[in-house]
Amino acid sequence: MFTSPQPSPILGEGVQKIMKTSLSRLLGLLSILLFIPIWELIVRASNLPKFILPSPIDVWTRFLKSLNDGSLLYHTSITFFEVLLGLLAGTLFATIIGYMLAKSKTLEKILSPYLVASQAIPIVAIAPLLVIWLGDGILSKVVICALIVFFPVLINTIVGVRAVSSPLYDLMNSLRANRLQILLKLEIPASLPVLLGGLRIGATLSVIGAIVGELVSADRGLGFLLQLGDFQYDTSMVFVAVFMLIALALLLYGIVTLLERRFLKWQK
């Protein structure tokens, strides 16, 4: 009935739209639900030992156990904190520097070799260095997150600010708007769609940054939990940590989506 190609005359267009989106959501949920029995089936058929491939039930049990002893929440919140702080710091620096670069071709020429070079170095390669320099506490992870977030947000800021329509600058100047008014009432709202696109990429990258940092050296966080599970042949724990990471990334992604809904409702 949902897939009927004829638009139903009884239902309004809005109702049909809601049905369509809830149907596509249902499909997403269905594919996740289907994934679990298939996983269980593979475990049973292959007869692999638990420390190589745990079953969904093993993982669920491990999840509940770590939830009850508080360790899961503790490590997740540490990683979340690092990811969020890194994301905020990286975004802040990237938008400020990106704005300056968008406004000044000279500055862009001076800085661009460094920016491109910094992008050519894989973050995995310099993560150990940063841990050596900044210690194996939270700071080094935040810096790694910030670095990995920096570039995509920077590029999007430059693209976004450069794309602000010049007739709108004419409008603001004909009204004798000052620099701050042009920034707040023209440049920020005009480049916000591209900016939030950068933040969306940055949010997922930031999670990767935190894990890279924690895998190098840490005594807490989901990366630490992952490594601990690995050392102790507690593969269920590794799975739990991986799922928590996915949840973290999804949460951040969802926050950016909410921001887009809130601030970009003028777009289709």
Binding site: L168, D170, L171, N173, S174, L192, Q267
Partner: protein, 263 residues
């Protein structure tokens, strides 16, 4: 300010003849654009004066520097030589209406119209914008976004935004060029009424002889590039001008003179 205490009743013609205060003097204005060592002479030796509350139109072929002239007056670019002098408000408040509606897509109709007042931190911005919306006939569309407007409606938003902060000088750059003929002629009447009610000094650029004769007190014709003033012609048609003014012999005579000047 002079706009406030001006009575809207009575003929503007009479008022001007009795009391022609100068508003703007343009002297020997020349503009040369330097594009990759390729010098483009856009305007050459332009001089003219405007009185307060006068409505003047610029006619001219494409590329004759009409937009450039408006941008100079709005102080968006600097002339190569010559000067623009304002006889009022230092610096004067300007309302500009662009050839494209040039609205902010992230702002609703109401918020677009409000912008000039926001920049002045006017606490009555909201009520004034609602008044303006009524004036340009967009009641009911306050919360619509520009993408949901027709070309004519968007242009009226642009017009409302150009007028809302009671500018000393209104600059209109082919504001109706993108409209269909019917809407355009309705807009002439609307603009004419608005001008009669608010009595701004207006400089309008257009391609249309009819439009200029319907609206202006004076029409100035620019030549091909580089733009020079070829004709400065008063339009002595009675106001308010109705649609049928176009079928009078005086209108025909003025139109002929303009057509000959444009080539």
């Amino acid at each position: 300010m002079f706009l406030r205490n001006y009575s809207t009743s009575g003929s503007s013609q009479r008022h001007k003849i009795m009391n022609p205060k100068p508003a703007l003097a343009v002297k020997n204005l020349s503009v040369v654009f330097d594009e990759n060592d390729n010098k483009i002479h856009a305007l050459e030796n332009i001089s003219f004066n405007i009185h307060q509350r006068e409505f003047i139109c610029f006619l001219g072929p494409s590329g004759s520097g009409k937009t450039t002239l408006l941008r100079l007056i709005a102080n968006l670019i600097k002339p190569t030589s010559g000067e623009v002098n304002f006889m009022f408000g230092h610096p004067p408040k300007i309302g500009m209406v662009f050839q494209q509606p040039n609205l902010m897509p992230w702002r609703s109709v109401l918020d677009n119209i409000k912008l000039p007042l926001e920049l002045e931190n006017d606490i009555h911005a909201h009520e004034k914008a609602l008044d303006m919306i009524r004036l340009v006939g967009l009641t009911g569309f306050e919360d619509s976004y520009p993408r949901d407007l027709s070309g004519g409606m968007a242009q009226r938003v642009g017009l409302a935004r150009g007028l809302i902060h009671e500018p000393d000088l209104l600059l209109l750059d082919e504001p109706f060029a993108s409209l269909d003929a019917l809407t355009r002629e309705r807009m002439w009447t609307e603009l004419s009424n608005l001008w009669q009610a608010k009595q701004k000094t207006v400089i309008m650029v257009t391609h249309s002889i009819n439009e200029s004769l319907f609206l202006a007190d004076r029409v100035l014709v620019l030549t091909q590039r580089p733009g020079k003033i070829k004709l400065d012609m008063p339009v002595d048609l009675p106001r308010p001008r109705k649609d049928d003014v176009r079928y009078t012999s005086q209108f025909g005579k003025l139109a002929k003179k303009l057509r000959e000047a444009i080539e």
